[in-house]
Amino acid sequence: MANVLKKALSLLVGDPSQVKLTMPKSRPLKKLTERELLQLESEIGAKLFGEVPAGHRREFFCLDEKTWIWYEEWVDPKTKKRQQTTTRYEVHEKGILKVMEGARYMFIQGAELDNLVLATRMYYEQVARHVYKTDPYTGQKLAQG
């Protein structure tokens, strides 16, 4: 009798052990935080300057509309200690200010400025296409493939 009832119940509500909540691949319920978007952007940013050396971790991203961050982390082969350096490039009226640890700052020019312009442009174009699925020139959404 118990088996019959169990079978009837199973037919009515299904077998609880067989229930699976399958999330769509696009994860519509997942809210992307600014931090997560920054990480996605930075994955692209890190690769703009060529291969990251073994044992290094690099991040390059746009923090806000006037600030770009370069972060590099590695293990010193001699001391085996973890090293890290953060460089901030800030847009100012007078130019692009490079700020490094130890209160070192200077307005960049020449090749470094040219390279930064190129890097930010590549970052903008690639992040627009691959993270935001947007045409970098028109601002229109790209068709989803």
Partner: protein, 99 residues
């Protein structure tokens, strides 16, 4: 004057600026009685040509480039976050667990 052909061309409106006062029209017709341009007008024309040449040669400011890329990124980031929020609220309205 470098070239009489361009004087007194007004780049703002794309036509000779002094067409109405007869000077330019007379000049085009080759009026032999046309008086030579006075010194002030010559200087004005030279200044205009110099400004136009400088504008052509002017390179975009690198910091403006970098700033504009930053602005573009932030704009897309904000739009993406707004889209995600809208998508979330719509999804909850129609959400049904899948068996």
């Amino acid at each position: 004057m470098k070239s009489n052909e361009n004087y007194p061309f007004n780049p703002e409106v794309g036509q000779p600026a002094e067409l109405t006062d007869g000077t330019w029209a007379d000049f085009q017709k080759g009026n032999p009685n046309q008086k030579p341009l006075d010194k002030a007008r010559q200087n004005e024309a030279l200044a205009r040509e110099a400004v136009a040449a400088a504008k052509e040669k002017e390179q975009p400011d690198p910091k403006e480039f970098i700033h504009s890329f930053g602005r573009g990124i932030i704009r897309m980031r904000v739009i993406k976050q707004q889209e995600t929020l809208e998508h979330d609220s719509r999804s909850w309205d129609t959400f049904e667990p899948t068996r």
